[in-house]
Symmetry: C2
Subunit: 219 residues, 2 copies
Amino acid sequence: MEEDRKPLRADAERNRRRLLDAATSIFCERGLEVGVGEIADRAGVGRGTLFRNFPSKEHLIAAIVVERMRQMIDRGRGLLDAPDAGAALFGLLDESVGLQQADRALFDALDDEWLANEEIRAAHVELISVLDALLVRAQAAGAVRDDVGAVDVLMMVKGACEAMRSFQHVDPGIGARQLDLVRAALSANPGHLPLRGRRPALADLEPAAAASAEVAASA
Amino acid sequence: MEEDRKPLRADAERNRRRLLDAATSIFCERGLEVGVGEIADRAGVGRGTLFRNFPSKEHLIAAIVVERMRQMIDRGRGLLDAPDAGAALFGLLDESVGLQQADRALFDALDDEWLANEEIRAAHVELISVLDALLVRAQAAGAVRDDVGAVDVLMMVKGACEAMRSFQHVDPGIGARQLDLVRAALSANPGHLPLRGRRPALADLEPAAAASAEVAASA
DNA sequence: ACCTGAACACCGTTCAAGT
DNA sequence: ACCTGAACACCGTTCAAGT
């Protein structure tokens, strides 16, 4: 579950970092569709080296996304014993959205298919479990309604990020505003109507059983 | 502002429809990255015909998105004189999310760059103005808080759609649940904290002044 | 072990020839 | 006017040769 990969030769490790850094800055500047050639150039390595470290362009992007998620995870862990549980949870969400605003289109890259990626799913599970810990504390403190789960929260935040991405050029404050709406939805406010469906559980995030079931059904 | 294009020869018009239909079903079945060749084949036309009707693959996708948005716009107009203003607004949102769930990844395709597309921006403006009309009625009826605008609502719905796209395979009910959270955020509930930023206005959706300003700044 | 860049394959797009 | 499909250009990926 931790951040160790099989150890690489010193120069290989350095190249991996250079590629990650070059890709991060280029993607943030100009979006996800810049060519891999340019990335290899900026990193100062050959095209082949990129594909030695990352099986495909998508895997490279995934690695960057995982780094971003790890930042959130670490920050979340640091907030686990903050005095004000509600402020801790919403503070993390604010920071996440802020991070997203600085970059451009990275967090967004998390559709169906990306969850097939082993690393991304692992990071997702970790992130949700940290979020869950923060959420439970906030609920115990009476700052958040009891009928929501960490997956609900993550979904709303991802939604806010996505929405922000579309409209931040027309209103840079839209991210913070959307987050305030998320907060309103999650507040422990009497008079809230009950939610449809059931409270999502951590166990739901297992390997893509849906996909294999679908294949079986079509046979 | 209306749905008339310069009239085409009968066979051309028929080919355009065939391409739109073929693309819609193929994209829904297998996602946005299927080749244009396959679409032309299913439509029963040559590759070149596709590019005669749509300047690029992106424009083809945009045309489909516009059709979807027009469906929402028409449905919204039909709800303008419904007796229960609150139910009308949230009913439309529910239908929109349902539509999204049936398809796969179409509505989602609305990032920054897409708004540069003239047709999409026009449809967006229309959609928001209908949403605004429904929203104002719902607010007058006391069903929705007064400090939100149509853009806020659209952002939250787009967020819910996006979130749903990531997790509907693990929990098909997530869309309805997210919408209930949106409803909770928008409800006229005393005890809601004030929102950061200002209430977005319709006038904000003007041509991409941000982009040209950016270009000017870099000179 | 790892690096390199020329070569390959694939796919969006164009265009000369046809109706 | 519009259609067609072979040809082009571009970009992700591979691999034989090098260190």
